[in-house]
Symmetry: C2
Subunit: 140 residues, 2 copies
DNA sequence: CCTATATACTCGTATAGCCGCATATACGTG
DNA sequence: CACGTATATGCGGCTATACGAGTATATAGG
C-alpha cells in the first residue's frame, strides 16, 4: 500500500493537480505554458513537471529548446482509475475551468511575443499580484 | 483546487491509508485496534486518527476509556467518490487483505488479554521486528 | 482515594517538501 | 564563436510533517 500513498503524495500539491488538469485537455504543454497558465516561476514549473515525470505520470519530449510534456497512460491500476476520476471530479469546478481559459488565452498570444518565457514570467507576476495573501496549506 | 490537494495530502500516508482501509470493513475501531493491526505505537495511531478526524473523514465516539472511530460519509463530492474508488482499488491487494486478517486475529483474542494496549504494543513490536529496514518514503 | 488503563497531547528532533535565486546546460541564430 | 532563449538543477532557507518518548487527562474498579 506504500505505492498508493506514494501516488497520492504526487497529487497532494495544488500546482501539480493543476498541471495534470491542464494536461487532461491539452496533449502537450511546454514549461512556459505551465508557467503562464499557473502564474508560477520557471523553476517551480520545471520542478513539478520533473516530479510528475519521476512518478511516471507524464513523459517528456525534447524538440529543440522546448520540452513538451504529455500525460502518459498509467500502468498502475490505482493510478489509472484515480486519474480518470480526478478528471471527472474537477470538471465542474469554476476554478478549473478558469485555469483552462487562462491557458488558452496564453496559447493564443504565444507566437506574438518575442521571448516565450519572458512573457510567461510577466503573466506569472500579474497572477501573483492578485493573491496578496500567500500561506502554506497544512494537513491538519 | 486547493481543497483537492488538501484531501490528497491526507491520503498521502501509508498508515492513514491503512486505517481508512480497515474502517471500510469495520464500523468502529478504537486506538488500540489500530495499534495492533498496523503494528504501530499508540501515539502514532492516535495522531493519525486525529488527522483523519480533523479532515472530517472520521468521527469519534467516547465510551468510557475507549475512543471509537468511524468513517463518516464525506460531504465533499471529490472526497466521497475518491474514497469509494479507493476502497475498490485496494480490494484486490494481498497486503490489504493481510491487514484485515491481522486485525481480525487481534479482535478475536482481544478479550483474553488483561490489558488491551499492552497486548497491542506487543503486537506492534512483533510487526516491527519483521521489517528491519525502515526508511521514509519520498515523493521523488 | 489509589491504581491501572486508554487515549490525547506536548516536547524535541529528524526529515521531507516547497520555494526562489542563481547557475549550468543545450540549442538556435546570426 | 557570441548571444539569446528554454529548461534543468544545485544550493540554502524555511515550513510542514512524522515520529518516539514522555506526560497529562479521564475513567473504571477496588
Amino acid at each position: 500500500m506504500k505505492d498508493a500513498a506514494q501516488f497520492f503524495k504526487v497529487l497532494a500539491d495544488e500546482a501539480r493537480l493543476k498541471i495534470i488538469w491542464l494536461l487532461f485537455h491539452h496533449e502537450e504543454l511546454c514549461v512556459c505554458d505551465v508557467m503562464a497558465a499557473l502564474g508560477i516561476t520557471q523553476s517551480k514549473a520545471s520542478r513539478h513537471l520533473a516530479t510528475l515525470k519521476h512518478a511516471a505520470l507524464v513523459t517528456d519530449r525534447k524538440d529543440g529548446l522546448w520540452s513538451y510534456y504529455t500525460l502518459r497512460p498509467a500502468d498502475d491500476g490505482l493510478a489509472k482509475t484515480h486519474l480518470a476520476l480526478l478528471r471527472r471530479s474537477l470538471a465542474d469546478r469554476p476554478d478549473a475551468a478558469a485555469l483552462l481559459k487562462t491557458l488558452r488565452g496564453w496559447l493564443n498570444g504565444k507566437n506574438r511575443s518575442v521571448a516565450c518565457a519572458r512573457g510567461a514570467a510577466c503573466a506569472a507576476n500579474a497572477t501573483a499580484k492578485k493573491t496578496t495573501t500567500r500561506q502554506r496549506d497544512t494537513v491538519r
